[in-house]
Symmetry: C2
DNA sequence: CGCAACAAACCGACCGGTCGGCCGGTAAAA
DNA sequence: TTTTACCGGCCGACCGGTCGGTTTGTTGCG
């Protein structure tokens, strides 16, 4: 048994617990570094140091550097598939598209809390040619379809949406524009880039998505 | 005078021409490498080799690696400010928002032709914390404003757009969603990610932006 | 014109330092 | 005792940047 003290009372850990803890420390350190320096510019030494472990130990838990990177994307995609992921909650519990503002706020929360993972997607696109994220985006329409079917949103939407408009397109479009808006705001660090504050921008986007930008009877 | 033969008749170049040609070769090589490997993972040796020059020569034309990177972003922002840039042409010569499909197609053309520069923006966000692109995005709303004023689009739009909706928001929103759509399609390499072909997606997005996703009289 | 004198373009070796990955050894858990 | 977590030195390759020296183009003077 090893004893570790973290200021608090001494903690006993089994071998499995220690191993898992190290794995998570490595992933946490790698997330921070990959998302701020890119993949190629982050060294395994950096990761080990940031994690407070030796380089040898990192290679004990992961076969190579790229496996660490893939592990991080898996973490993110895993989180996004949980029912309590803010976006999934907002989409399921409200009534689309009346709840567009709620969806916008959920996306805002996600980009804020997961900004490093969002950056990882850019890293993959640049340094791995999008290899690891292509499937995720390619399956997105189908995933929305299943989600909406599972939550019985189809019939309700059929009656509300304009004729000939697929519910999937409507939800996809709304999702994408909010992700894009908050990525620029939070990841790029540009405040109020629509020329108005965030809440006003979310309201205006929601309104255009619901009723269009043209005058109603023109 | 130097004589170079490129299969074709011999070409004479002044010192200034040779220098400029080398500078462009360096930038072209750097664009290719930075956009595919990231900044930190691209070595000045790689750039020199790709450009067909020596490393010493690269440092003769540029003081350091980062200046090369900034030079590439300058190139891109410069191109975007030209009146004949596809987006500017589409926005100026058509009638917004009837020409949304045309704007969509212009953005498609841009992302296709400038995909490596678009990737550079991601590289800046990840590896330079967005330092070089923040101003560009921060000034975007104001830039649209000036552009529309210069082309006398205000009054026309005032009569067409829904009450209380700012023309800038309308144009910004449309621009962003198209950029996002084609970035995923072209840069991420995901075909038909809205679940339908590109033209159908552009039409559907344009329609939602113009008339909204809700039934007209609901 | 010829040609010396200068400047700019260019090359490749070299610097201290870091890279990804491996491996032998140690100590603790099972 | 066997297995596993963990350490840190080691390898050849490569990093950004500098520098001494060579080639090439330009300029001015006779």
């Amino acid at each position: 048994m090893t004893t570790i003290s973290i200021g608090e009372p001494t903690v006993r850990m089994t071998q499995e617990e220690r191993s898992e803890k190290s794995r998570q420390q490595i992933l946490d350190a790698a997330l921070k570094l990959f998302s701020h320096k890119g993949y190629g510019a982050t060294s395994v030494r950096d990761i080990a140091e940031e994690a407070g472990l030796s380089k040898g130990n990192v290679y004990h838990h992961f076969p190579d550097k790229e496996t660490i990177f893939r592990g991080l994307l898996d973490r993110y995609f895993q989180a996004m598939s949980q029912p309590d992921f803010p976006f999934n909650r907002a989409l399921a519990e409200g009534s689309f598209p009346e709840n567009l503002e709620g969806i916008g706020n959920a996306v805002r929360e996600i980009v804020r809390d997961y900004r490093e993972y969002v950056a990882l997607i850019y890293v993959d696109v640049v340094e791995f040619d999008g290899t690891h994220v292509r499937k995720f985006y390619g399956d997105m329409a189908e995933r929305f379809n299943s989600f909406m079917k599972a939550h019985g949103m189809e019939k309700e939407l059929e009656g509300k949406l304009a004729a000939g408009l697929s519910p999937v397109s409507a939800v996809m479009l709304a999702t994408r524009i909010f992700y894009n808006y908050f990525t620029v705001e939070i990841l790029f660090g540009v405040k109020d880039h629509f020329g108005k504050d965030t809440d006003a921008a979310v309201r205006e986007i929601s309104r255009i998505l619901r009723h269009g930008m043209l005058k109603p009877n023109a």
